[in-house]
Symmetry: C3
Subunit: 148 residues, 3 copies
């Protein structure tokens, strides 16, 4: 087992673990409620969003916001809601205070008048850093489990 994986097996402080949980609940609420600009504020200005389901990484809060807004408009036009659940979080605190968080993330898709169903299941790996004391995402990697 490599050192990083081993570190993920050691519980972190309750304060940090709950801060991460609350960060995710809040972050996903913003995205799912269509507050895409506020959602993008949870990334650092130079933040990176990468996903194996996307053609290339997106760097910079402005571009991340633009991508989220475009995705939102497409959902609104299709009259579909997405709800993101993150869970099963493991957290590693690094010596410099940066935080590695790995979670499962699944998207529930709910068409207007239709049936809720899982859209994707992914593993989400975040590098979280503190900006003025508040956690922000500096790097997010989203790995869809249906793609190899």
């Amino acid at each position: 087992m490599d050192a990083l994986l081993e570190a993920a097996g050691k519980p972190v402080s309750g304060d940090l673990y709950l801060e991460v949980q609350q960060f995710y609940a809040w972050q996903m609420r913003l995205l799912d409620d269509g507050l895409t600009a506020q959602w993008a504020e949870t990334f650092t200005v130079d933040g990176v969003f990468d996903a194996n389901g996307h053609p290339h990484p997106v760097q910079g809060r402005d571009k991340i916001a633009a991508g989220a807004l475009a995705a939102r408009k497409a959902l609104d036009e299709a009259d579909i809601r997405h709800r993101h659940w993150l869970g099963m979080v493991t957290v590693i605190e690094q010596d410099n205070g940066d935080v590695l968080a790995r979670s499962y993330a699944t998207v529930v898709e709910i068409p207007h008048g239709g049936k809720a169903a899982l859209k994707f299941h992914t593993v989400c790996e975040d590098l979280l850093v503190r900006v003025d004391g508040v956690l922000k995402i500096k790097d997010r990697q989203v790995i869809r489990d249906d793609l190899r």
Copy 2:
């Protein structure tokens, strides 16, 4: 962003956040295991349960209990189990000690001998108050995501 939404972005104390989590785990266990009277005890005597999937709000613990029991009997007759997951909880503590909790809630439906599937996806908004120190639901709003 309005003041309430902004407040939801600030982490509350770990003690309160975990009390809310444990409250929900316990509350849903009671409902899903068919202990509908005990489940209703998690509401205040004058508690309200409202849902956009229901014809009208239900007020009063007795009526809430009666509604849950009727729903339970229907499930038992159909030989179907429901399991409620609440997650992605944001919590706001108000100056008077009342607690606003907003979560995603999804119902997994499992027919006897059949396949588990999501039944509904909802947003659940609770006003929690303390009665003899214990959290109780004074007002619950359940908003199904498939209904507009």
Copy 3:
């Protein structure tokens, strides 16, 4: 309501509750990432794994590891990924320090190139004990909700 159920309604310390949450996140990561030997290390040497979906209980870490490895190989051959979510956890700490944890557990199945879907929904009841201070599973009962 019996005494055990009543005890499950009383919040435990935040430290313990979070230790259990982090234990599960870590444990499931090991299993789902195919680290079956390390996963089996989260059981005591004489640990028991029982499930109403299995023909008989499995006792002993070595046998638990062998079962997990066989299951993993079958998944790999079918090119299917499983992701385990545990949630809605209630925890009881016993006088001797042992921990009873009951949770919902669901398996998300993701075929390569296919759609994620729930495979099973279960209730998971664990007896956790401390070995050199670290939580280990001494007894796990997994009850599938589709079987009666």
